[in-house]
């Protein structure tokens, strides 16, 4: 089964997940709106975003308006909830992909069913990025690597390798198999070229989304852009990001099934 085909089959997952995400983030949004009375994003000709003047106004607004501080606290509380919820949905999605057909209730019940075992995997998996990134730091020390760029790239590669390992292993959890972390590693390292391909596609799409994201930020803050346009743009980019993430998840299912010769 091709990844793209699988992706298309699960297109609604992307949309529904996004709606859930926005619902979870809603309290933060409301908090921030209290703060919104402060005209932080101002005439961009005077204070381009990121400029020193922008920074000055932002700091002043931050310290004279408690709304933003509350919003940041609300965000800090919301993020773990968001991540756990998305983690449940991710394992549900992969389990559903292994079953080969999708329905809304089946997807949610699979998410609930596998959630605790997925958390167990997550806890065991935590040692993977710790070791990989630790090794990378050791290499920096041993070979006296000073360049920030090579450090960032190496750490990013280690992190994405770990993440990919996690997603390979989630296949095991989704299929109710044991030794998922070990089998995940076997699948990943026997199909490393696949991993590189997935990461490359993911990175390309991600950079594109990031550029659009930034452009949106600029446009959205511009007084001449209508608000509806901004909200719609945000939604479109968020949906695009979700599809990228879904592609990443689907790819891991496809690679797994090919490796273990499951049809």
């Amino acid at each position: 089964m091709s990844t793209v085909k699988l992706l298309w089959q699960y297109k609604w997952v992307a949309l529904i997940t996004l709606v859930f995400e926005w619902l979870i983030l809603a309290p933060v949004l409301l908090m921030m709106l209290r703060f919104g009375n402060k005209e932080v994003v101002v005439n961009l000709a005077q204070t381009p975003i990121g400029s020193s003047n922008f920074f000055g106004i932002f700091i002043d607004a931050f310290s004279t308006s408690p709304g933003l501080v509350y919003a940041v606290i609300a965000f800090a509380i919301t993020v773990p909830t968001l991540i756990l919820f998305k983690f449940a949905l991710a394992v549900g999605t992969m389990a559903s992909m292994h079953e080969g057909k999708w329905s809304f209730s089946q997807w949610l019940s699979l998410s609930g069913k596998h959630f605790l075992r997925a958390i167990g995997l997550l806890l065991r998996w935590l040692i993977v990025p710790a070791i990989l990134c630790g090794l990378a730091v050791l290499v920096f020390k041993l070979f006296d690597i000073e360049s920030a760029v090579s450090k960032i790239i190496t750490l990013a590669v280690c992190w994405f390798l770990s993440i990919s390992w996690l997603f390979m292993s989630l296949n095991g959890v989704a299929r109710n198999e044991s030794w998922s972390l070990k089998n995940g590693a076997i699948t990943l390292f026997k199909n490393l070229h696949q991993f590189l391909l997935i990461v490359l596609v993911f990175l390309a799409l991600f950079v594109l989304a990031k550029l659009m994201n930034w452009q949106l930020f600029v446009n959205n803050s511009d007084i001449n852009t209508t608000l509806l346009c901004g909200v719609f743009g945000a939604f479109a980019i968020a949906l695009f990001m979700r599809i990228v993430v879904l592609y990443w998840q689907a790819a891991h299912v496809v690679v797994w099934r090919k490796h273990w010769k499951i049809n």
Binding site: F35, V40, V42, S52, I57, W214, N220, V245
Partner: protein, 647 residues
């Protein structure tokens, strides 16, 4: 005629040679040279202890007859947990560093072991030590113009460095505030403060002739000019001469590597810790040269022939970022970074002190702003103008200029004390910090933006010309300002000597289609049988705009700009002439295009403004700002999570 020419030539040659090989690149004396201090010191690198003999000739340059001479014994601030310095610093926590423990090696002292007059008469009985200060009672009064001579022996035990002076438990020794130093008699009284947590500099100018004996494998750096170096077995004697300076500091470390660069008769010497790459080394020289270039152009000459930059090792970071005449310490991390320029900035800052503390030599204890504050202003200009680094930090889309950093810290600190407050009298350490560094920098940045940079340049030049080597105070500075611009001087006076503040705001903004009046037209001599004429009320094509501006506080410039932006992007600038009796103003005017935004002070001239974020108002229908940026910001954070954990 020919002979005369010859004599002039020879004389000129001798003169140029002598100025080349001396502590001064511009022949002195520049100061009164109150004292002539000769020290022969040797360092025991195992115990980090200096034993020394000192000959002091002190001249009464005052108009009064003196009966005593107070001295600094500032190393005694480190002698126990009960000193003023230790108490003020919370038992030894300062500048991000702290005392490493309660072991003996963390403490230090300086004690005078022998004291006699020129004739060899023992004077130790007249020596009264009170921790970090001491007083020598004179057996005979010292008349104005007379010189008195003493011989002393003293021992200085260095503490483990956590604040400025000391050793690192290994090979690094930073020997500052180490010898008994006479204090300053000024305005009819002795000024002899104890060593405080936040202030330590106020001393008289003089000449130093210091011979330092250390193991041969140690590299030495010191105030002034190395006149001579002689090896005797395992030990080497370094003979340093310094003139027209108010302090003498030195350092010795086996691990120093050395680099030198010349700039117009100044030998810039960098003592650094290996490894350090070429680019980072050059970055230090560039910072030093940029400083000298800028100061010589806008302030005045650097009269000395040397400048030594010392990079302390990482385990002696407490010695970093300090200023002494012709010798300063850098931060411990000198690696060049394209993102932020702290390595260059700290060096610029410490070299700047050679002017504001070294040459002007104001009283840092009582008026720290004159040293740290003016310096915090000039360092920003040197970084931007002479080093062409407009931003002190630059991360992706975020750029940070120094004036805005100083604004943020000034605006965030409550104004409980005036800038001009004794360094130990502020409500807390944060108030000391802001009022000594960021606020005076912000005051000068504001003055620069409101009255123009040329006037600030004139002020700094005139200040140097009138007060170099003369210990000026705040009043002297303001008197110089008055000769440049009376209004500017008044603003400076208010900003420095009072707790006056300022906060501009746009209270409201409305822009609506103008009403074209309508209804029945009733005439005065209305006749009952005629129906009054009726016109339908309507709205014209014109917009009627109302903008209300206001300010709180008293620190007002003469006028301030208000920028009005219209829906089609066109702009109009209004000048608001400020009136102390009316703190608000409503602008009413008509326009063909809708007014959408008003901003007070769009060029950010008044950096002293307590809150810049209320300087802007958008028309109500346009001010769905919250949605605009909240959606964007939240979305960006959301995407960040998605990218790092693609769930």
């Amino acid at each position: 005629m020919k002979n005369l020419q010859c004599i002039v030539l020879v004389f000129g040659f001798i003169l140029s040679v002598s100025t080349m090989a001396s502590a001064l690149r511009i022949a002195g004396p520049h100061s009164e040279r109150v004292h002539q201090t000769t020290i022969k010191a040797s360092l025991d690198v195992e115990s980090h202890r200096v034993t020394a003999e000192m000959n002091l000739k002190w001249k009464n340059t005052t108009n009064d007859t003196l009966h005593e001479i107070p001295f600094h014994l500032y190393l005694n601030a480190f002698s126990s947990t009960d000193t003023v310095f230790m108490r003020e610093s919370g038992g030894g926590q300062l500048r991000g560093d702290k005392r490493e423990g309660d072991d003996k090696e963390n403490f230090g002292y300086v004690i005078v072991t022998k004291l006699s007059n020129a004739q060899g008469k023992d004077l130790l009985a007249n020596w009264q030590m009170d921790n970090s200060v001491a007083t020598l009672s004179l057996s005979e009064p010292l008349e104005s113009g007379q010189t008195i001579e003493f011989n002393m022996s003293f021992t200085s035990q260095l503490p483990k460095v956590f604040a400025r002076s000391g050793h690192n438990g290994d090979t690094f020794n930073f020997v500052a505030q180490w010898f008994p130093k006479p204090s300053v008699y000024i305005n009819g009284k002795w000024v002899n403060h104890r060593y405080h947590a936040h202030s330590e500099f106020f001393a008289d100018f003089g000449s130093y002739d210091v011979t330092l004996t250390v193991p041969t494998d140690y590299v030495v750096g010191a105030t002034g000019f190395l006149a001579d170096k002689q090896q005797e077995g395992d030990l080497t004697r370094h003979h340093y001469v310094a003139e027209d300076v108010h302090d003498f500091v030195w350092t010795a470390d086996k691990n120093f590597a050395e680099a030198n660069q010349q700039w117009q008769g100044i030998n810039i010497r960098l003592l650094y810790q290996e490894p350090l790459d070429e680019k980072s080394i050059q970055n230090q020289f560039d910072a030093a040269i940029a400083s000298f270039e800028w100061f010589e152009k806008y302030v005045g000459a650097y009269p000395y022939s040397t400048m030594t930059l010392v990079q302390p090792p990482e385990d002696a970071s407490g010695a970093g970022g300090m200023e002494y005449p012709t010798l300063v310490t850098t931060i411990t991390d000198l690696d060049y970074s394209s993102f932020q320029h702290s390595a260059a900035l700290v060096t610029i800052h410490e070299i700047g002190h050679n002017y504001w503390q070294g040459i002007l030599a104001s009283n840092e204890f009582e008026e720290s702003w004159m040293d740290e504050g003016i310096n915090s202003y000039t360092e920003g200009r040197i970084l931007a103008e002479a080093m062409k680094r407009k931003n002190v930090a630059q991360f992706a889309h975020l750029s940070i200029e120094l004036p805005m950093v100083h604004h943020a810290s000034t605006a965030r600190t409550p104004t409980f004390d005036p800038v001009n407050t004794n360094s130990w009298s502020f409500i807390n350490s944060r108030a000391y910090g802001t009022n000594s560094y960021s606020k005076p920098a912000t005051i000068l940045n504001t003055v620069e933006r409101v009255w123009g940079v040329e006037k600030v340049d004139l002020l700094l030049t005139a200040y140097y010309q009138q007060w170099a080597f003369k210990h000026p105070n705040t009043k002297n500075f303001l008197d110089v300002a008055k000769t440049i611009d009376v209004e500017m001087a008044q603003f400076l006076d208010d900003a420095i000597n009072t707790t006056k503040t300022i906060d501009f705001t746009v209270v409201s903004l409305q822009s609506e289609k103008k009403h074209q009046g309508g209804g029945y037209r009733l005439l005065l001599e209305q006749q009952s049988e005629v129906t009054p004429e009726y016109t339908k009320p309507s709205k014209s094509d014109l917009y009627s705009n109302t903008v209300t501006l206001a300010y709180q506080g008293e620190l007002t410039p003469p006028s301030i700009e208000v920028l009005l932006t219209f829906e089609d992007g066109s702009e109009e600038t209004h000048i608001w002439q400020l009136d102390a009796n009316k703190q608000w103003k409503t602008l009413r005017f008509e326009s063909e295009v809708k007014l959408v935004e008003a901003i007070v002070d769009p060029r950010f001239t008044l950096l002293l403004d307590k809150d810049l974020s209320n300087n802007i108002k958008k028309e109500r229908s346009e001010s769905n700002q919250a949605w605009r940026w909240v959606v964007s910001l939240l979305q960006s954070m959301h995407h960040l999570i998605n990218a790092f954990l693609p769930l």
